[in-house]
């Protein structure tokens, strides 16, 4: 997402950099080359967004045969009074309030520790990166068994440490934390790689100079690493929040929103309304709300970074 302003800038730069190239503007070729990509993007990416907004203003009426009637904002009005929806909004916000800082902190810490070419570090880096190749569905299935209250791996290891068996996914107070654990296990490697790439862009001589001036590694992190990593950090924050706002797989695979709706995030609530309760219009109202919140998060974070500069 942070690619946008950068992408535009480099595009402009590239256009100026080659004034001699192909003086004739080639309208038809240009459009023909992008036509297949643009058509599929419009049909499968953009059209669904407008379709969701449009259909969220309708409701199926069974008076005189099933048909859709325009109801304006009525679907949204009923969402505000709907306890299940409000709960899923709350669950999603609570999930995100914890999971994003946790994932970002751990992946940044690991990236800093792994930013070295020593052989031992390279081995650790490769091993820690393995979950990158594991899909979230597979991660959920494995962890679902590992967190089994009766004969799961985690309780059996906790038993070694003298900790009594925990209910995990079957408890309404622990289930959301299990979801956080699973998504974090899967997600860390991905964000870590992006941080590592960002760290490698920071010139080595800055640290050398700081060390000569007597700075310790803690000061180096706060005074050099973090400020120079700000753009990457913003990108990861926005992308991670977006991904976690749409978290669905572990919840569908393991809890179906339960126990007692404690893991019923917005995406799962929208899915249930659309495909379990066949209330597509109301589901699309939730999808529209999700898209609006995402837009808000992205906008707010860009604004924060701009005022911070």
């Amino acid at each position: 997402m942070a690619g946008i302003p950068q992408g535009l800038a480099s595009n402009k730069k590239a256009g100026l950099a080659r004034p001699g190239f192909i003086k004739r503007r080639d309208y038809s070729s240009g459009y023909l080359f992008i036509l297949p990509a643009l058509t599929t993007l419009l049909v499968f990416r953009f059209y669904p967004i407008f379709f969701a907004i449009f259909k969220s203003l309708y409701q199926v009426s069974f008076v005189g045969g099933a048909r859709e009637v325009f109801v304006g904002l009525q679907n949204y009005a009923s969402l505000i009074r709907d306890g299940t929806f409000l709960n899923s909004l709350k669950v999603t916000l609570v999930l995100n309030a914890f999971i994003n800082p946790i994932q970002i902190a751990i992946s940044l810490l690991l990236a800093v520790l792994l930013n070295s070419n020593a052989l031992s570090i390279r081995i650790f880096r490769t091993l820690i990166m393995v979950p990158l190749g594991i899909s979230l569905a597979i991660a959920s299935v494995i962890w679902g068994f590992a967190l089994n209250p009766h004969s799961g791996l985690v309780n059996s290891i906790l038993g070694l440490l003298g900790i009594p068996p925990q209910p995990f996914l079957t408890s309404s107070t622990q289930a959301l934390w299990c979801v956080i654990l699973i998504a974090t296990w899967k997600g860390i490697a991905y964000w870590m790689i992006i941080f590592l790439a960002g760290l490698q862009e920071i010139p080595e001589h800055l640290y050398e100079a700081a060390l000569i001036d007597g700075a310790n590694s803690w000061q180096c992190f706060w005074k050099i690493t973090l400020p120079l990593l700000k753009r990457v950090l913003l990108f990861v924050t926005v992308a991670d929040t977006t991904a976690n706002f749409l978290l669905f797989v572990p919840i569908f695979t393991l809890t179906r929103g339960g126990p007692q709706m404690s893991t019923n995030v917005l995406m799962h609530e929208a899915y249930s309304r659309a495909f379990v309760y066949s209330d597509m219009n109301s589901a699309l109202a939730i999808v529209t709300v999700i898209l609006a919140i995402l837009l808000g998060i992205v906008g707010l974070q860009f604004k924060l970074i701009r005022t911070g500069e």
Partner: protein, 281 residues
């Protein structure tokens, strides 16, 4: 001497953190891998009270795998491979064509259209999966492989990746061909693509793994059991065979091994695709 000792002592917490993170990353996988090669009763007894044997495939048996394939799991693997490869081939073609135009051809509204491409990868696929169901319904492609392949073909990130690469190809090279009377199509096919092998590998890998791992859209778009892809089949396997842990683990191992075998030898290409958006100017 003392400074050396102090340095070693300072390194201990670092290695401790790395060691614990490695355990956290690998132990669940090791457990799943070993359990898939065990008879069911050993899978259970090794974790009921903890034994280190939980992480070793003893006693070794392939019965979970043979039972899994007898239950028709092979079909799901085949479906996913078909979807993944089709998306890869079509996606590379469609995205690189567009990227070539964005990188090398001047035409009106180019920048506006490129912003559309960038916006498309700001909106994650899951966000539009539910309304996409209605679109696919209207196109009458629900419950077909087209529903899985077509939406994955044009990928904003892959277009961006190709464009970055193509912009690095010197214009003189293309100009010379142009003067010799080559068409745009010929320049793209004969000059640009053969020069772009690293980008082709990154894009192909990214598109294949995107499809191999996708879950929510295939769950929504496919009703028929024989058309299920591997991730969805695994989720159903878990609910249906909840007691046959070793079989589910066998499915998990197959589902994990394929991307891992692709990613590890081609690590740098995959990482390039991931980091491109976050870092590149």
């Amino acid at each position: 001497m003392t400074s050396q000792i102090r340095r070693i002592l300072r390194g201990i917490p670092v290695y401790l953190v790395l060691f614990l993170s490695t355990l956290f990353s690998l132990l669940p996988l090791l457990w799943a891998f070993s359990s898939s090669f065990k008879p069911l009763d050993s899978v259970m007894s090794d974790v009921t009270t903890f034994r280190l044997r939980a992480f070793l495939p003893v006693p070794f048996t392939l019965e979970a795998y043979s039972a899994l394939f007898k239950a028709g799991f092979g079909r799901s693997i085949l479906n996913t491979v078909v979807v993944g490869l089709s998306t890869m081939v079509l996606g590379i073609l469609v995205c690189s064509l567009a990227a070539f135009a964005f990188a090398k051809i001047n035409f009106p509204l180019k920048n506006v259209l490129f912003v559309l491409v960038l916006i498309s990868f700001m909106v994650p696929f899951e966000a539009i999966a539910i309304p996409l169901y209605l679109v696919a319904e209207r196109l009458r492609i629900l419950n077909t492989m087209y529903a899985l392949v077509l939406p994955g073909v044009a990928n904003g990130l892959v277009i961006f990746l190709f464009r970055q690469f193509f912009m690095g190809i010197p214009n003189e090279l293309l100009e010379a061909a142009f003067i010799d009377g080559a068409s745009w199509v010929k320049i793209y096919w004969k000059i640009v693509l053969p020069l772009s092998k690293p980008a082709l590998v990154s894009a192909g890998l990214f598109l294949f793994i995107f499809q191999w791992e996708s879950f929510m859209w295939p769950l929504i778009a496919i009703h028929e059991r024989k058309l299920r892809v591997i991730q969805v089949a695994l989720a159903y396997l878990r609910t249906q065979y909840l007691t046959f842990w070793n079989q589910v683990f066998a499915g998990v191992v197959i589902g994990a091994v394929v991307p891992l075998l692709l990613i590890f030898p081609l690590q740098s290409y995959y990482i390039r695709a991931i980091t491109l958006t976050g870092i590149k100017e």
